[in-house]
Amino acid sequence: MVPVVFEALAKIVFMFLVIMSFVPLLIWAERKGSAFIQDRTGPNRAAILGLRLAGLVHPIADVLKLVFKEDVVPAQRHRVLYAFAPWLVMTVAMSTYAVIPFGDHLRLGGREYQLVVADLEVGLLYVLAVSSLATYGVALGGWASNSKYTFLGALRSAASMISYEITMGLALMGLFLVFGTFRLTELVHQQGDLIWGWLPRWGIVVQPVGFLLFIAAVYAETNRTPFDMTERDSEIVAGYHTEYSSLKFALFFMAEYAHMVIGAALIAALYFGGYQIPWLRRELIEDQAGLLLTGLLAAGALLHGWLASLYFRRARREKGWYRDAREREPGVLGAVALVIGLALLGSLLLRPWSLGAAGASVLATLLQTGFFIAKIACFAWLFIWVRWTVPSFRYDQVMRLGWQILLPVGLVNLVVTALWLAAAHRP
């Protein structure tokens, strides 16, 4: 019993750490990415001992500021619900990850560990159920603040949840028809197959329309532009979290980004093969583990060497720009890159090409998990990229799109998928 608890705890902590490290990175990517898209420089001032890391220190500064800020609360709030709402949003944001598999399995010391916190039979239904719970937090927070703006934001959130949950459900039903399972591990496993021997059997390949529906629904659920009507500044100030400050606001803010990570993880797991590396099946990785590891280490060494050279060149170019600790930054980063590169180069001396079977299994798992995290990062970036490209829809346009366009398209997609499958599997 005890090892099982420890196993579950270890997985939960791993997922928690992945998400929690994604959140500040995404805030950074949002600020820096939006700046570059708009021809600005973005945050580049906060520094620790002159190390600015292209603005990565700013999220730390922001968190510190929010923690130490005064918590201003409205006098006429509902005391219990007002304090409870941010925690509810955050908890819900975290709990969706329970069913998302972040790797195939890990073989350690003769035991095999499934790399998913809870391998539920009804994984897809769990995703649908829990992701709509987040709206309760938003609605409660908006109502408990006792302000018109937050109330409107909460109402809009509830309305968009109801409209787009249906689209999301229909899109997932199409996926269910094709793969025949609600179990997410099984679903991702099946996506490792190839159609006609070359095309990965990813969700987007078998359900392209479903993917578009799902991505629209996810954007609406996470309240991101073009569906950001719950917190549209020009209409309702900051929407449901207008009356929140300090740490409670930070929770809402972090939950928003955690939701983005869930959205990205769901898109990656359901439609882009999850942890599956296309054309590189697990058996193949385990077969060629030594070769792969050698190649990876060499590529890493080369990459870090190149980075180091870039940084050293920058250090020479920027000499005399600042006349303070910041001037050392490129040199320090270059030195770090050089040390890592040399360490990777040195690790080639440990004969990585003669990797054993146990090591091969671990390497395959690490590669697949890394690939999944990379996919999450790509889709999280897509969220940011779309936000700084597309203007948001008006409230009525959001409703029209949800009910009059996406819903019928989802139904047609479901029927066509069912007919197609029936035709393909005719006895």
């Binding site: 990415g33 578009l212 990229w385």
Partner: protein
């Protein structure tokens, strides 16, 4: 009122199917913003942003910065306390108390000459009005900051000493 020549009904172009399906248009938009992103990532140094405290913009020679009072060869102020500048000043920020100059050819000199930099609108009318080129705004100083309001009322000695930076 007639609106001859103007069409009474504004005809809007019907959106094509692909435009109203949004998806293709969004992809086009992503391509546009992505181009900016990549260009700025590859050429970070060519962004229009000026990294202000370290680098400064070059201003034109006619830029009006903080005022200064000019001196004669002997070091005394060139100002003859004629009150032209304080009269023309639209913000009423120049206060001059005139005194009698020992040299009868000069007649008057400013006993005090204070400028309230918080009231000044930097219009440059004072230097236009001055008959003996005693007040100028060519220091190029635009970073004028202090901890309290009193420090912004600068006196004759301060204005005559031309080598100061923005700190009051």
């Amino acid at each position: 009122m007639s609106y001859k020549g103007l069409p009474e009904v504004v005809t809007r172009r019907r959106r094509s199917f692909w435009e109203s399906a949004y998806f293709v248009e969004i992809c086009k938009g992503l391509f546009v913003t992505g181009r900016h992103l990549v260009r700025n990532l590859l050429h970070t140094g060519e962004m229009p942003t000026v990294q202000y405290p370290e680098k400064r913009r070059e201003y034109g020679p006619r830029f009006r910065g903080r005022h200064r009072l000019m001196k004669r060869a002997d070091g005394s102020p060139r100002c003859v306390a004629c009150m032209m500048c304080s009269t023309v000043c639209p913000a009423d920020c120049i206060t001059i108390v005139a005194g009698e100059h020992p040299d009868p050819a000069i007649e008057k000199f400013p006993k005090t000459f204070t400028i309230d930099l918080l009231r000044c609108v930097y219009c440059g009318l004072c230097e236009e009005a001055c008959p003996c080129d005693a007040i100028r705004m060519d220091t190029g100083i635009y970073e004028i900051a202090a901890d309290n309001r009193e420090s912004f009322v600068v006196d004759k000695e301060f204005l005559l000493d031309n080598d100061k930076d923005g700190t009051l």
